[in-house]
């Protein structure tokens, strides 16, 4: 048992003691909550199946918060913000000790599956070309770079769901609310001519951002040209194929009902490196559920493998097991002859002969289903 478990145990305190200790100085919600949320809940309980109906009018929110980067006199950078503050350090230097900024985060306010669309700027400023397109993984974000001959870059982000993406902006000279084709957004003018524009399509659940280094770029016009275009080929798509060839193409033979393969991404072994990976995502679109499967090369720190160390290698890939030093409930498993470990949401197993570790993660299926998926994984011919 760890401190989280003790916290859960305390949560089961008999009611009479909880009430006796209660009488909270009650916080008041910022606004009368949940008119739309109650409608959503009523829709669910009335068993109206489609969450994408008119009951939902807002699928994504754009949140900004102030942040400060403290620069102690020893030059090490420390980030602070609403959740984490650091003590300011004294310095007699004329160099600024703190940088103020803002962090933009896109928050999902729904629980529906939204596929990553082929939305990107259709008009690009003169002199710029598309130089990089990210893999469709990790499933909820796409990043595109445009660069010119001088090496200046424009970065475009497309976000769906809640991948935890945040964009930090410093040296803010001006912050302006704007509309991009009628959609709400915010434009930051920053020191040195850089500008960042973020906007959201609340109905479709898309978040967008553009950042330009040159102040001559008409950022708003570029943003307003964002529309559906031809599918883009990720820059490293050939790397995915190489990784599959190197590591093998493994897939589950069993998936719970409603699940399908959604995306594959990989990176092969680079010269002088020991690391390569393949990642696969399986989704149930109707229920917005996800199973994540990854396998990668892995060598233990001492460079050696032994059969008994399969457990150690597997354990390293289960965060709860690693963090709690093995105290989280777990069990040993075997997948296709390989030893591994499993917690409620995470299964990992290792192939010492080929320096590979596999892991499977899902919070959306039962542990029994997860184990069934794991044990069905085989290499495709």
């Amino acid at each position: 048992m760890n401190t989280y478990d003790l916290l859960e145990l305390i949560g089961d305190t008999p009611e009479e003691y909880v009430l006796d200790a209660g009488g909270l100085g009650q916080q008041t919600p910022a606004k009368k909550p949940m008119g739309k949320k109650l409608l959503l809940i009523a829709a669910i309980v009335a068993a109206t199946a489609l969450l994408m109906g008119s009951a939902i009018t807002r699928l994504i929110a754009l949140r900004t918060e102030k942040i400060t980067v403290q620069m102690p006199s020893n030059g090490d950078e420390q980030l602070s913000g609403p959740e984490n503050t650091t003590a300011a350090t004294e310095t007699t230097s004329s160099i600024p000790t703190a940088y103020e900024g803002e962090r933009i985060t896109f928050d999902e306010v729904h629980n529906v599956f939204i596929a990553l669309p082929n939305y990107y700027p259709q008009q690009i400023p003169d002199g710029y070309t598309m130089t990089f397109v990210s893999n469709d993984a990790p499933l909820q974000e796409r990043v595109i770079y445009y660069e010119n001959a001088a090496g200046h870059r424009i970065t475009y982000w497309l976000i769906v769901g809640n991948p935890g993406t945040s964009i930090e902006i410093y040296g803010i000279e001006q912050k302006t609310g704007v509309k991009v084709n009628g959609l709400p957004g915010v434009l930051y003018d920053q020191r040195g001519g850089m500008r960042t524009l973020a906007w959201i399509d609340e109905k479709q659940g898309y978040g967008f951002a553009l950042r330009a280094e040159e102040d001559t770029v008409d950022l708003l016009a570029m943003a307003q040209s964002t529309a559906e275009g031809a599918p883009l080929k990720p820059t490293h798509s050939d790397k995915t194929l190489q990784a599959l060839a190197e590591l093998g193409d493994f897939s589950p033979g069993y998936l719970p009902e409603g699940f399908e393969e959604y995306a594959v991404a990989g990176y092969p072994l680079m010269e002088g490196s020991w690391y390569s990976y393949v990642r696969k995502w399986y989704v149930n679109r109707e229920e917005n559920k996800l199973i994540y499967f990854e396998y990668e090369t892995y060598k233990l720190p001492n460079g050696a493998w032994a059969g008994s160390e399969a457990k150690t290698a597997s354990a390293a890939f289960i965060p709860d097991y690693h963090r709690t030093n093995g105290q989280v409930p777990h069990k040993q498993i075997q997948v296709d002859g390989m030893l591994g470990l499993m917690t409620d949401r995470h299964a990992a197993w290792a192939d010492p002969e080929k320096d590979r570790v596999f892991h499977l993660y899902s919070k959306d299926v039962s542990p029994e289903e997860l184990l069934k998926v794991a044990q069905s994984i085989r290499e495709n011919p």
Partner: protein, 185 residues
């Protein structure tokens, strides 16, 4: 409207149950969620999830004290949300500090895995609470059940902050000793 009537509406699958729950216990649940998450939007999400969880749990559950039932749901949902989101990575917030404080109580509990042992531990914990002086119990639960700040607890009970800290430290030591006495070493 009394709790019994609201619970009956849940049993009748009458959606008014949710609205009445929100009206009566919305701020209460929000306070618990906000203490844990320190974020308005996250707290509102947790409260929403609480209503849905209550709808799914009643029936067959028939809580005798609706506030305690809802509060427990909100607490669990909010802690879960907190763990999933950013606080575990960057620290900070009352939950992180509370976890750090409680770590001294779990020194002898690493081997608690079996459900049976957990049940026995729960009994030991309940006996401990029963024997605590009321003031210490209230302060302890205000901190580790409601996740209130030291400052808020001090204000609530009219204590100084140093007294609250002292009471909590004493209670944590007692809890650890109780677990050791009961054989959890």
């Amino acid at each position: 409207m009394d709790d019994k009537t609201i619970v009956e509406l849940y049993f009748l699958r009458n959606e008014d149950a949710i609205g009445l729950t929100e009206e009566k216990y919305g701020p209460y649940c929000y306070s618990i969620a906000y203490n844990i998450l320190s974020n308005r939007e996250d707290a509102q999400e947790s409260v929403s999830d609480t209503y849905l969880a209550a709808w799914n749990a009643i029936p067959p559950r028939r809580p005798s004290v609706l506030s305690a039932f809802l509060g427990k749901l909100t607490r669990h949902i909010s802690i879960d949300r907190w763990r999933q989101r950013t606080a575990a990575k960057r620290g900070g917030g009352e939950v992180a500090v509370a976890l750090e404080e409680l770590s001294e109580c779990v020194a002898g509990l690493q081997n608690i895995e079996l459900e049976y042992e957990r049940k026995e531990l729960m009994k030991a914990y309940t006996r401990f609470l029963k024997e605590l002086p009321a003031a210490e119990r209230r302060v302890f639960l205000s901190r580790y059940w409601y996740m209130e700040s030291i400052e808020a607890i001090a204000t609530k009970f009219g204590f100084s902050q140093s007294k609250v800290k002292m009471l909590l430290q004493r209670t944590r030591i007692k809890l650890r000793l109780r677990f050791e006495e009961e054989g959890y070493k």
